[in-house]
Symmetry: D4
C-alpha cells in the first residue's frame, strides 16, 4: 500500500510529470490533521483496520467533542472513558451518537449506518463478580463496534465453581474468551484450563486491601499456571475487546 504510493510517485518522476522537488515533498507527506492540541491519525483505519479511538479520561468535554466531530467526518467513532456530559454535548451535532453508561462509551455510526455484526465466531466476555461488569461492557462495546458477535457470562467467579462449570458448553463454543476479574483474579487460570481457545485476562481495580487497586489480580494473571493466557492493563476493557477482535477471524 505504502509501496504502491511510492511507486506512483517514482513513475510520475520517470514520466517527467513532476519535478524532483515536488516528488520529495510528496514522499514526505503523510495523512494527518492538526487540531492544535491533537494530531488526528486519519489513516489509522487503513493501517490498523480500525480508526483511532478517543480516550477521554484526561480531556475536557470541549476537547473530546471536537475530536469526535472531526473523526466522525471520515469513519465510525468509538470514545472510551466518557461521561454523560460529553454525550449530551456531542448529541447536539451528532444525533445518532450512542451512549453506554455502564461501559462509559460513546459510539457514533458512520453516515448514520448501524454497526454491522459481520463475524460469526463468538467472543465470550466473562466476569468473576458483578463489580467487574463495567470493565467487561467496555470490551463488549469495543468488539461489537469492530463488527464481532459477542456474548457475555457474568458473576461466575471461582468461589462457586458450579456456576462456571454449569456453563461449560457456552464456554467451549466460544472462539476467543475475555475474562475479567478483580480481587484474587483466579478466574482466567481456571477458564484457560477448560478450553483450547485464547484467553485474554483483564485485571480490575475492584477489591480492597491487598488487591492494591488491581496489582493483586494483575500478578495472578501474569502468573497464570494454565498456558493460553495473556494479560492487558488494569481495567482495560477496551484493550481486551480490541485484541479479541484482532484474533477473532
Amino acid at each position: 500500500m505504502h509501496k504502491d504510493k511510492i511507486k506512483a510517485i517514482l513513475q510520475s518522476v520517470q514520466n517527467g510529470q513532476v519535478s524532483i522537488e515536488t516528488a520529495l515533498q510528496d514522499l514526505s507527506k503523510l495523512p494527518f490533521e492538526d487540531l492544535g492540541f491533537a494530531t488526528l491519525d486519519h489513516h489509522r483505519a487503513l493501517r490498523k483496520g480500525f480508526p483511532e479511538v478517543v480516550f477521554c479520561e484526561n480531556k475536557t468535554t470541549e476537547q473530546a467533542v471536537k475530536i469526535m466531530e472531526k473523526l466522525a467526518e471520515q469513519n465510525v467513532v468509538l470514545a472510551t472513558r466518557t461521561n454523560r456530559q460529553m454525550y449530551e454535548e456531542i448529541k447536539k451535532s451528532r444525533a445518532n451518537a450512542e451512549f453506554n453508561e455502564l461501559a462509559r462509551t460513546i459510539v457514533i455510526p458512520y453516515k448514520g449506518k448501524e454497526i454491522r455484526i459481520d463475524r460469526d465466531k463468538t467472543i465470550l466476555v466473562i466476569t468473576a463478580g458483578t463489580s467487574d461488569i463495567s470493565v467487561a461492557e467496555e470490551a463488549v462495546v469495543t468488539a461489537k463496534v469492530m463488527g464481532h458477535h459477542v456474548e457475555s457470562l457474568y458473576d461466575v467467579g471461582v468461589a462457586g465453581l458450579h456456576r462456571l462449570l454449569n456453563k461449560k458448553d457456552k464456554i467451549e463454543k466460544a472462539n476467543v474468551l475475555v475474562v475479567v476479574a478483580g480481587m484474587d483474579g483466579a478466574l482466567p487460570s481456571v477458564v484457560a484450563g477448560l478450553v483450547d481457545k485464547p484467553v485474554i485476562a483483564v485485571p480490575t481495580s475492584v477489591g480492597y486491601g491487598a488487591s492494591f487497586n488491581g496489582i493483586g489480580p494483575l500478578l495472578t494473571m501474569l502468573n497464570a499456571c494454565a498456558p493460553g493466557v495473556t494479560v492487558v492493563n488494569i481495567d482495560n476493557g477496551f484493550g481486551a475487546g480490541y485484541f479479541a477482535s484482532l484474533i477473532n477471524r
Copy 2:
C-alpha cells in the same frame, strides 16, 4: 466429548449392563496418572489441543526425566527451562530427544516422527536486543512443536529505528507477532503501531538498575499506548509461543 461418555454410562445403566455402584465409579473416573510427586494430565492433549508441557526449573534431573519418559509414551513432549544434564540423561532412553541450548528446551517427537509444520500463516518473533534471544527462542521452539511456521527478526530495538522500518515488509506479512524486549520495553508499542495484527509482548529480565529484573519493561508493555498488545509474564517465551499458536489459524 465429556457428555458422550456420561451418555454411554447412563445407557449401560439403563441396559442393566452395569450396576449403579459401578456407574458411580465410572462417572468419577477421569484419565490421569499418579507418579507420587506429579499427577500427569494425559488427556490435556484432547482438552487443550496440546499435551502437558514440563516446566523443569524447580525439578531435579531425576524428576524431570521420569515425567518426560512417561509423557513420551503417549504424545510429543516439550520440556522448558531444561539444561544439558537433563538432556544427557533423557537421551539414554529417548535417543531422538532434541536439545536447544539457547532456548533451554528439550523436544521428544512422538514415535520418532519429525514435528510437522502444517500451518502456513507466519508467526514472527522479534527481539529488541541480542540478550533477549534466549527468551525468543523458547517461543520459537514452542510454536514450531505445535506445528506452526515461525520466522524471526532479532536485535531491531527502537534505539535504531531504521533497522526495524527496513524490515517493514516482513513485519506486515506476519499473521501474529511475538515481540520480546528488556530494558525500556518500548518495541511492542512501536510494532503494534505499524501493523493490524495481534502483538504478544514478552518482557525480559535483561537490563540493570531500574529495570528491576523485568518490572520496567513489564509496566511499559501493560501501558502500551498502541492498541492490539497483550502481555505475558517476564521471560515467558513459552507462554507467548503457546498463545501465538492458539491464534495462528
Copy 3:
C-alpha cells in the same frame, strides 16, 4: 497454672515459711535457660501445648545442634530449615533423630518413644504443583509430630481442574485443609469454594518473573474471593501445619 504458683508463694509467706525477700525473688523467677546465644523457652510446651521449635536457617550447625540437644532433654524436638550436615552432627548424640530431606526437618522423639498419632480427624495438605511439595512436607511433618492424622494430595492445580474435582470425596472428608501454591496461587480460592472447612493457604516462592518470589501468590490468597481462607507467610509450611494442628480438634 501461673496463678497457682503465685498462690503457693503467697501461702508460704502467710505461713512464715519464706521471707518477703525470698518471695519476691520466687515471684520473679520464670523457667527458662540461658545458652549465651539463645534463651530457651522450656515452659512453652505448657503454655502453647507444644515445645519451642528450632528455626535453623540463620544458625550455624554448632548452634543448631546445641539448642536441639538442650531441648531434647525435656521434650520432643522439631527443627525446621535444617540440612544434612546438621543431621549428621545431631545423630552422633541422638541416634533416633529423624531427617526428612524434602521437608528439611529434623525430629527427635522424646525418650526414644515414637510420635503417636492420637487425633482421628484428618488434616489434608494439597499442592498445586510438584515444586510446592517441599513446603507441603514441612507442614505434614509439623502436624504429624503434633499428633495429627495427615493426608496429602499433590499436583492438582487449577490448570487441570478435573484432577482436583476427581478427588472431591477426599477433599470433602478432611477436617482442615492446607493448600500450598506458587505462581498464580489460585488453588485455595477454588478449594475453599468446594468445602465448608477452614482452608489455610501457603504461598510459595515457586515461579518466576511476576511471581516475585511469592508476592504474586501471597496477594492472590489474601484477596481470595471465597470466604474461609487465611494465609501464612511465603514458604511457611511449618506455620500452616502448626495452625492446622491447633484447630484440628
Copy 4:
C-alpha cells in the same frame, strides 16, 4: 450429598422412570438464579454451611437491595460494607433488617426469627486501638450471625502491655481469637505468645506514613514470630469472623 443426587438420578434411569436425555439435563442442573447482573448462589448454604454474603462496596443501592431481597426469601442475609441509605431502602420491604453503623453491616433474620447463638465456646475479638473497632465489629457481627458466642476486648495495644496482661484470664478462656491492629500490627504476635489457641490476625488501614494503608501491619502479621497466627486481607473483619466461626466447634 452431591453423590446422593447423582445416585437418585441413576436409579430413576435404571427404573426407566426418566429418559437418558432427561437424566443428562438433570445431571447438569445446579441451583442458582440469574438476576442479570448477579448469579445468586442459593445452594452455598448447603455447600459452605452459610449462605452467600453480599459485599456492597461496589454496588448501587438498587443492586444491593435487589440481591438482599432475593436471598432473604431462602435464608438469613448478611450484607457487609453497606451504608445507611441501603438500610433505609431495604427496611421498606424487610422491616426486621438490622443495621450496625459501626460495622457497616445489614442482617436480615430468616422468617423473622432472631439469630440464635448455639455455640458455647467463645470467639474473642481484640483490637490494638480504638480506630480498629469498626473492622472488629464486622467480625463480631459475622460470627454472631453464624451462631457463635463472641466477646470483645478493645484498645489493648502493646504500647501499654499491662492493659493486655491484666485481661489474661479472658484471653486464656477464649477458644479462638481474632486480633485486629493497624500501625505496627504487633499485637497478634504478643497474643499468640500467650495462648495455645488459634489467632486470626486482621491488619487495618489505620495509621499514617509508612503504614501505607495497611501494608505495614500486614507484613508484621505475616512475619509473626509466634506460631499459631494466620492472616486475612487488610480491613477484612468479615473474613476473620467467618474463619473464626468455621473453627469454633
Copy 5:
C-alpha cells in the same frame, strides 16, 4: 566572585579600615531575607543564573503572593503549580503578572520589561499525547522566561510513528529536546535514536492501571535503550525546562 568579596574584606582589615570584629561579621553575612515562614534566596540569580522559583503547590494563596511580591522587587518572578486564585490576588499589586492556565504558571516581568528571547538555538518540547500538554507547557514557559527560543510538537506518540517521522526535520534542527510522555513512556527512546542532541525525558502521571501515576513511564525512561537520555521527576515540566535552558548555549 565569592573570593573577590573575601579579598576586599581582608584588604580593609589590612588597611585598618575595619576592625577584626567587623570583618568577622562581614565574612559571615550572606544575602537572604527572612519572611518568617520562608527564607528568600535573593542571590541565587547570581549563583545559579536565574532567581529562586516559587513552587506553590503546598502554599496558601497568601503565602504564595507574599513571596512573589518580595521576589518581584529584585528580579523577574516565575511561580509554578499556581492557580487562578493566586493570579487574581497577585494581579492587584502586580498588574503585569501573566497567568498561563494550562501550564499553571505565573510570570512577573522585572520592572515591567517583557521577557527577551536572546538565545537563537531551539529547545523543542515534544509530547506523546494531548494529555501531556499541561506538563509540556510548564517546560515551555520556564525555558522562555529564561530567555530561550522554544518550539513544540504535540501528540506524536509511538502508536502512530509516521506522525513523528513526518516531523523529522523539525526534530533534527533542535539543539535540545524535552520529551514528555505518560502511559508506556516509549517516546524518548525513539526520539533519542533519531538525533545526536540531548533528550530530557519527562514522565507524566497520565495513564491508568499499571502506569501507577507515572512509575510506569519513569522506569521506561530510566531504562531507555538509546543513549543520550536523562530523566526528571514525574510531571516535572519546570525541571526539564530549567535543565534544557542550562544546556542550550
Copy 6:
C-alpha cells in the same frame, strides 16, 4: 515502683491483714479506665514520664473530646492531628485549651497552670522548606509541653546551602536537632555532618511524583551517610518531638 507495690501486698499477707484471695486480686489490679471505646492508660505518666497522647486522626469529635476531658482530670493533655471543630467543642468545658492550627494540636494545661519550660538545653527544629513547617510545629508543641526549650530554623534546605551554613552557630549550640524535610530529604545528612549532636530526621509527604508521599525522603534518611541520624515515621512531628525530649537532659 512496681516492686514496692508487690512488697506492700506481701507484707499485708504476712501481717494477716489481707487474705490470700484479696492479695491475688490486688496483684492483678492495674490502674486503667474503660470508656467503652477506649482503655485510658492513666499510669503512663508514671511509667513513661508523660501521660498518654490523644491521636485524633481516626476519631470523631465526640470521641476525641470525651477522651481529652477524662485525661484532663489527672494531667496535662496533648492531642495531635486535631482540627478547629474539636477545639471549639473542648473549649466549652476546658476554657484554657490551646489550639495551634498549623501544628494541628490541642494542649490543655493541668489545673490551669501554664506549661513550664524547665530544661535549659535547646532542641532545635529545622525544616528544608516552608511546606514542612506544619510537621515541624507538631514537634515544637510536643517538646514544649514536655517542658523543653525549643528553637526553630525554617526553609534552609540544601538547594541554597549558604542559608544553612550562615546559621552554623545556632546549629552548633543545640543539644538535640530535629530535621524535617520532604522531596529529596537530604538535609539531615548534611546537618549531621556539621554537628556532634543527635539528629532526629522526619520525612514529610511534601513533594510530588517520585517522592511517593514521603517514601523518597524516608529512604534518603534511612540511608543517611553521616552517622548520628535516626528516623521516625513520615510526617510524625509528634514522635520526633517526643524522642527529642527523652534525650534532652
Copy 7:
C-alpha cells in the same frame, strides 16, 4: 573553633605577618588527606566527637587496610563490615588490631592504649532472636569503642513475653536501649511501652518470605505505636551504637 582560626588569620593580616594571598590560601585550607581513591577526614574527631569510621563492604582488602593504617596514625580506628582476610592483613602492621568475627569489626586502639570505658550510664542492647546477634554485636562494639558501658540481653522476642518481662529490672535500669529484631519487628514497640528511656530500633534482614530482607520489620518499627522509638537502616548496628553513644551522657 572554626571562628577562632579565621580570627587568627585576620589578625596576622592586620599585623602584616602574612600577605592577603597567603591569608586567602589559609582560609581555604581544611585538614583532609587524599589517598587517590579516598579523601580521609582527619578532623572529624574534632567536629563529630569521633573519628571517621571505615565501612569495608565494598572495598578491597588492600584499600581497607591502607585507609585503616592512615587513620591509625592519628586516632583510634573502627572498621565495620570487615572479614578475617582484612584482619590478617592489618595485623601485620598493627599487631594490636582486634577482630570481632560475629560483629565483623576491627578495632585498632590508638598508640596501643586500651579503649577506656568512661561513661557510667548503661546502653542496653536487646535482640528478639539469636539470628539478630551479629547486628547487635556491631552496636555493642561501636558503643564500647566510643567509651560507653554496654550490656546485652539476647533472644527475648515477643513470642515468649515472660523472657522479656523477667528482665524488667535490667531494662528499667538502662539509660538508652538499642532493640534489634527481624521477622515481625515487634519488640521495640513492646520495650518502648515499658520504659521512659529512648529506644533505638534496628530492623534486621533475618526472616524469610514477607520479611523481604528487612522491609517487614522496618515498617513495623517506623509504625511503632509506642512513642519514644526511632529507627535506623536495616542491619545498621553501627548506626544504632553510634547514635546511642551520642545520647548516653
Copy 8:
C-alpha cells in the same frame, strides 16, 4: 543526508539510469550488517555522532569479541561491562585494545590512532564515596573516548561537607558535572545548589538495607530540591558520560 540519498535515487530514475524496481530496492536499503545474533548499526556514528557501544553484560565472551572486531573495522570501539577474559581474547586480534579494570571498559582506537581530546571545556565527575568510583570511571572513560576533557573529584560526600566546599573552585570551573552517589544520594542536590551548570546525577547500588540496590538514591535524585539536575539509570556511568559529552560543547 537521508534526503540527499533519496534525491540521488530520484535523479537516477529521472535520468533513466535505474529502473523503478531498482529504485524501490535502493530506497529500502539502509546500512546495517547482520551477524545472526546481532544487527550492527554501522551508520549510528553518522546519525548520533558516536558509533554503537557494546554492552557486554549478557553476552558471552565469544559474542562480545565478534561484535567488537566487526565494529573495529569501521570506527573506534567502546565496550562496557566487560571483564578481563573478554580483554584477553580481543587483545589477540586487536593488540591496541585498552582495558580499564575499574571501569570494566574496553576501548579499541580506530586504525591504531590514540583517542584525541579535542574539547577544552571540562566535564567534572564527582563521587560521594570510594565505592562509587567504579561507576564514575565508566563515565570518565566514555567522555574521554568521545573526545572530552574530564576531571574527577572522589569521596567528597555530604557527611563531611568541608571536603566538597574546599574544592569549590574546581567545581565552579566545570562546564558539566556528573555526580555519582549511593546510599542517601544527597550529593547532587548540594552540588546543584552551588553551581549554575547542568548536573547529571548517577545513583549507584552501593549501600545496604533501605538503599534497595539503588532505589534509595534514585528517588533522592529524582526529588532533588535544587533545579538543574537530571538523572540516569542506577549504576549507569556510561549513560552519564555520554549525555555529558552531548552537552559539553
